[in-house]
Amino acid sequence: MHITNEFRRSMNWLHTWLGIALGGVLFVIFWMGTLTVFHLEINRWMMPETRSVTNVDAPLDPVILPKIAEMEIENESTIFIGRASERQPHIRLIKFGGSAEREEAYLHPETGAEIERTDTYGASGFFYPFHYSLHVGWMGVGYWIVGLAAMAMLVLTVSGVFIHRKIFQDFFTFRPKKAARRSTLDLHNMTAIVALPFHILFPLSGVLIFALTYFPNAMVVGYGGERAGLSEDRFGFHQPAVVGEPGALPDSLDAFVSRAETVWTERSGAAARADGVRIMNAGDASSTVMVQHAYPASAVARLQGNMTFETASGEIKTDFVPLPISNASSWIEGAHFIRFDSWAVRWLFFFGGLAGSAMIATGMLFWMRARIRKGMEPLTVRVVRALTIGTTTGIMASSAVFLIANRVLAADAAAFGVGRADLEAAAFFVVWIASFIHAGLRDKRAWADQCWAMAAFCGLAVALNWATTGGHLIETVRLDQRAVAGVDLTLLAAAACAVWAARKLNAAYKNDLAQADGTSKVLPAGLPAE
């Protein structure tokens, strides 16, 4: 295919405008998504009561059955038991459905004692939903903005590839000693091109995961508009109809779990471990027990099995084997969830996320600089710069504040009519908003200021973890609390990077001041492609 200059120019136009319109949102999604890679590890850090790993394979029955016997159960109740795992070393016991409120408890996997955990959303309840809903709940607008941004990301990636003539050369081109404009573009091109498969995989799989939200009708047409049929075929999820007559509660969950695991292990050839058990219509005559294999350790594809038993008779009711097309979809989705057992992939995806964040930030920065040189009202410059700074360094520094708030708030803290967990989130948002105001006031100097702030916040978070839990690095390594040690080390590394960036930015600012005598060159119209 011959690429004309006109085509390249039109791609450049598309790339520029989509980047301006959605670059900020994309950075927020990428940054929060990057933190989400380690959401379970950050949870351990934020809920010190759940840090120590015990025997996660202890039998369920002695722990769960007495708890279920104590529960007030209606015929419509579903009881979900999330099994303990290395990354999540406690059992989650959740009851929902019927007229009662949802109840959730964390249980010690051996003793069954309820863990009085810190009142926090944790990373799973804050960073995680941030990256797919932006915490904009109203009419599901957040999901749609993220979906739109993901589609834009794919268009940006493809148009970006067409803009560049020298893809292969860009692999290794980073010239930090050249002019800031040049090295910014180098970094943008390099982070974009080397991680190209990553930049395509993640927005694509993200859209796929929410396919039912974005296209609620397309997939259920074949099932007469009923979601239940789709849920059975695609997810092996079978919801029995309530009969309204009393039925038995299961007398053993371990028996069901072990039967399902035996079948799955034989089928796949790799040791399968169920990750959850669901008692549907608990106490009703229609009750079933579903054993789930939603996040296999040894496969990328999620959802490798779902086996449903009749609670009363113990007979297998449904045995879900994913169809090939379903499995292909599950592979793409599983790659996004990263719940499988591969620390190498998890870390590389974390760095991929950082590379993506750097790509988006440098893209915005490059456009802003080029635009300012072409001439822009001083007030507009200030606003655009404040928005860029707040969106990038501002959100990074605020994320560390979320961790700080988690460590300093008292266990029963409450203010302004909200509880502790909401106060942590409020701390994040207050600092984030403040970062925009600060950037507006301090203008260019805000870059370095906020990097210094981030370095200080990250260091403070590590110190506070030590002060409030006694879990300094030597201790957490000694106790083999890898999640906590990993979060601390990553915070320290982030602090070091922030100090380095702050010093560079400060030097660049002083350099700018020295040169600010009207010698800045005006770029020719249109953004240079190379």
Binding site: Q169, F171, V300, L348, F349
Partner: protein, 115 residues
């Protein structure tokens, strides 16, 4: 698979991938000049680079199988490329030992490049 073997395969994949990427970078004139070796670069450097890169897929496949390799390998390539670019930007001399295996020795100099 034992943890040791698993780490060993990952390490060898990383090394092969990194060396492959470095050789590919050195096969470009600008990067070759950056390293600052007196000799001209040999024409086989690029082929050698591709060979190393392809070879790095083998330990990844042995370690995790195709399904995981499809995720791990492209990310290893990305990490290696960024690593090589950073070395070229800040410490290009580190690539000299590698450049020596991909340069033309005096006396046998090929007619091209004529450095």
């Amino acid at each position: 698979m034992s943890a040791g073997l698993s780490w060993g395969l990952l390490a060898s994949a990383s090394v092969l991938c990194g060396v492959g990427m470095a050789l590919l970078a050195l096969s470009q004139d600008r990067n070759w000049r950056t390293v600052g070796l007196a000799q001209a670069r040999a024409p086989y450097g690029r082929g050698l680079g591709w060979a190393f890169l392809t070879a790095s897929l083998v330990p990844v496949l042995l370690r995790d199988g195709l399904s995981f390799a499809a995720l791990l390998w492209p990310m290893l390539i990305a990490a290696s490329a960024i690593g090589v670019a950073m070395i070229l930007a800040y410490r290009p001399a580190l690539l000299r030992p590698l450049a020596r295996i991909a340069c033309v020795n005096e006396g046998t100099a090929a007619p091209r490049n004529g450095a």
